[in-house]
């Protein structure tokens, strides 16, 4: 007998007792998720013999790996709770993560902290993917699953400076309205016209790398804005700032909002992103955008001129090396 029907039957029997007492729609949804994960475990077959559960995180692994996986999963769940708030435990179940199997040899240098970070990132990604379409599409499936690095903030600043978008320089100067436009917070039908002046469209069409047809020469050759516009509208328009800019705005909103911020961000899926960010952060969206612009401005990359500290350090090293070289008494 195949294992899948047997596991499904067991799972159904185990849940029959509680079916009567609970809301049928909710229990059916939960059952569906549980059956999905059981099927996945069954498909994994011989390689998976143990499941580690820590809060909402479930990891299918082998018994041999449990001592490594269990503390990492617990650490990951603590990270998820601190990032998304305790309410996250009541939301939809997270998919089972697969880690190793009975044949897996435990790596000698397996870092528990790294493993926990990986589990937490996978759980965070799953949580974000479960959110409503408006939020997911605004973030373009690129979610803030970990705090953004200073390098990414530098890249956002570089985008603001180099992209010829109409609102970029005003945003850098601190205008919240301009930053709202740059970050796609203004609900407009004509995004291309809002973001870029027509003079930039021919080059933008080249950068967007759309598939070419013979008629496209009116854009690339004769630089006719209308022709470029029709090319650009065949796909997503390159945003004035990479999506990491939006991730950073969400990160700032969650940090400003403190406990429960994620719940407030995702509570009303009918509201606009602007209102949801405001609800999450607990401050006006203008203040949030002002803080975003200030933080991005402060992320300037290191200037080429060496600092006094670096100069002293390098010259000190040189003096030591030279002194050691001269201390040698022999010529040959």
């Amino acid at each position: 007998m195949s294992r899948i029907p047997a596991i499904v039957a067991c799972a159904l029997l185990a849940s029959v007792a509680s079916l009567e007492a609970q809301d049928s729609a909710a229990i059916l949804a939960r059952m569906e998720v549980r059956l999905d994960s059981l099927r996945r475990l069954a498909v994994a077959g011989d390689s998976t013999t143990d499941t580690v559960v820590a809060g909402g995180i479930r990891i299918a692994t082998s018994a041999a790996l449990r001592p490594v996986v269990a503390p990492a999963a617990a650490e990951a769940w603590r990270g998820v709770l601190s990032r998304f708030g305790p309410d996250i435990a009541g939301q939809r179940a997270l998919p089972v993560q697969q880690f190793g199997g009975s044949q897996t040899v435990i790596p000698r240098h397996l870092d528990g902290q790294e493993l926990a970070t990986a589990f937490e990132a996978a759980a965070a990604r799953a949580i974000w993917e479960q959110q409503d379409t408006l939020l997911v599409r605004w973030l373009q499936h690129s979610f803030p699953i970990a705090p953004l690095s200073s390098q990414t903030r530098e890249d956002v600043l570089e985008d603001l400076v180099r992209m010829p978008a109409a609102a970029n320089s005003a945003c850098l100067a601190g205008s919240p309205g301009a930053c709202a436009s740059v970050l796609g917070l203004n609900p407009r039908m004509d995004l291309l016209a809002e973001w870029y002046p027509p003079a930039t469209w021919p080059r933008l069409a080249q950068l967007a790398d759309r598939s070419r047809s013979p008629g496209d020469d009116r854009c690339y050759g004769q630089k006719e804005p209308d022709a470029c516009r029709s090319i650009l509208l065949t796909g997503p328009i390159p945003p004035p700032v990479r999506i990491a800019g939006r991730q950073y705005l969400v990160q700032l909103a969650l940090e400003a909002g403190g406990p429960g911020a994620f719940g407030r961000l995702t509570a009303d899926s009918a509201a606009s992103i602007r209102h949801r960010l405001e609800a999450a952060a607990g401050i006006t969206v203008d203040s949030l955008l002002g803080a975003w612009a200030q933080a991005v401005r402060a992320s300037r990359p290191e200037r080429p001129a060496p600092t006094a500290w670096m100069t002293l350090l390098v010259l000190g090293w040189c003096a030591v090396v030279l002194a050691m070289s001269m201390a040698e008494g022999r010529w040959r």
């Binding site: 100069t311 350090l313 040189c318 090396v321 070289s325 010529w331």
Partner: protein
């Protein structure tokens, strides 16, 4: 005395110095040669792209200059088996300082050429708002990185055979310890630690680590 040593150094490394000074002169000018006018909406894009693409060339020139000058400082003495140096009425350390200073002067000369060229290139370019030119900063970083590399190479090339053998032995021991630490599943690996130190933020080569951008935000 210094003039004689400088003249000897110049004779040995003049070809490399002229070539590298030529590159230091050409690179900043070439990097901004196609810069569009500031009224072009894409000028910031073009300038940053060009600056990024050419930023790799400056540390390479600094390293090449350091290598050529360090080798040039020792070549005449190696060729003559140090007889000329031993006939001079100066101590070994003073002679080494003179040799070091002669190479350093030529290295700083290449850095000055880079500074002038970068300043001219930046002055000829109308920068769009929010972009800045860093010709002086670039030249200073070039000099600092060049001095660090030159000092290390000068000391390494000038090693006596005995000291060279000791250093090679130390490196071999380090490699063996690194392999042993890996086999014994130790968390601390001396080889990795050494490499981290050599290329880390507190190493003498730290000046090579940053962005060498003539034009940047």
């Amino acid at each position: 005395m210094f003039r004689a040593v400088l003249s000897s150094q110049w004779r040995e490394s003049r070809l490399a110095v002229v070539l590298l000074a030529g590159l230091a002169l050409a690179f900043p000018l070439l990097s901004l040669r196609g810069a569009s006018s500031a009224s072009d909406p894409w000028s910031a894009w073009d300038l940053l792209r060009a600056s990024t693409a050419w930023s790799v060339s400056y540390p390479i020139v600094a390293l090449a200059a350091a290598l050529a000058l360090a080798a040039g400082a020792w070549l005449p003495d190696r060729r003559g088996r140090h007889v000329y140096a031993l006939t001079l009425p100066v101590s070994r350390s003073r002679y080494l300082l003179l040799r070091f200073a002669a190479g350093l002067l030529l290295l700083l000369g290449i850095g000055a050429v880079l500074g002038v060229s970068a300043s001219v290139a930046a002055a000829r370019t109308t920068l769009p708002p929010l972009l800045h030119a860093y010709p002086l900063g670039l030249a200073l970083r070039f000099c600092l990185a060049g001095v660090a590399a030159y000092t290390l190479l000068f000391s390494l090339i000038g090693l006596t055979p005995r000291a060279a053998r000791l250093i090679v032995a130390a490196i071999l021991i380090l490699i063996i310890l690194g392999v042993a630490a890996d086999l014994l599943n130790l968390k601390w690996n001396p080889l990795v630690a050494m490499l981290d130190a050599v290329f880390g933020p507190y190493s003498p080569l730290t000046a090579f680590r940053a962005r060498w951008m003539l034009i940047d935000v």
